[in-house]
Amino acid sequence: MDIPLDWIRALQGGALIGLSASLLLGLNGRVMGISGIVGGLLAPSAGDVAWRALFVAGLVGGGLIALAAMPGAFSAGSASLGMVLLAGLLVGVGTRIGKGCTSGHGVCGISRFSPRSVAATLTFIGTGALTVLLTGGGAR
């Protein structure tokens, strides 16, 4: 049986994400949840800023390296600018209320068998799928 290349890339990329989360947790004792890491920068408290800023800088740096090595790995979709702004706003509001996103709940929380993260992940995949269904396979 031939395994599609996309699946292999997904597994490889996923393993890198798991490694990155494991480094942050095993060495620094922190959960690699992006919305939480960024959220802490928006309401900074003393002594808790540098590592967050460095993580975000690394994330942008990783994106830059990836862009140089494989420019085809990026595309921003076909949604209109207004739709993108609405999407970003909802993601910001929702991840703050629900205390996590795909990384914090979907990867880190599920890895710890947290019932909260399992429920949150099923919920955001569910409403995401429903949204794509209602917009007919992608918002314009």
Binding site: L42, V84, V93, G98, C101, V132
Partner: protein, 152 residues
């Protein structure tokens, strides 16, 4: 290790972790918005590959978590700062539901959107700015709303 050296080492770890995360997202295909939307499109031509992103990440991280359980503290800090709540509440599900709608509309979640900033694509930049605004505003309004809801 002096506290100062420890703090510096933590910074290096955070930076490295961010780089690996960004690379992983790009390799996995998470930085292609239409691929993410294809994954969420269960009812028409579903693209299952992003399931393997979570699968790969969880496989690695679950083992790491298991190995870390026997340790009293992380290598570079005093304790593990990990959420311990296990109960479900309406806030959690409401927030996750709102996040999912935004994810489905834009095809971006927070990590891939930030990793896409170097492309300077207007959609990625606009998404991140709106996301920061939404998170900031909710953080400011939240205590007010919580107080209002608690009032009998």
């Amino acid at each position: 290790m002096t506290p100062r050296a420890r703090e510096r080492a933590q910074g290096v770890v955070a930076l490295l972790s961010g780089v690996l995360f960004g690379l992983g997202l790009a390799v996995a295909g998470m930085t292609r918005a239409e691929k993410v939307i294809g994954f969420l499109n269960f009812f028409r031509g579903w693209d299952p590959s992003l399931m393997f992103v979570m699968g790969g990440a969880i496989a690695v991280h679950a083992v790491a978590w298991r190995l870390l359980q026997g340790r009293p503290s992380p290598l570079l800090s005093a304790r593990f700062l990990v959420p311990t709540r296990r109960d479900l509440d309406a806030r959690l599900l409401l927030g996750a539901a709102i996040f999912g709608v935004g994810w489905g509309l834009g095809g971006f979640c927070p990590g891939p959107a930030i990793a896409s900033l170097p492309t300077a694509a207007p959609a990625a930049v606009a998404f991140v700015l709106a996301m920061l605004a939404g998170s900031y505003a909710t953080g400011r309004l939240d205590p007010v709303l919580t107080r209002a809801l608690k009032r009998p």
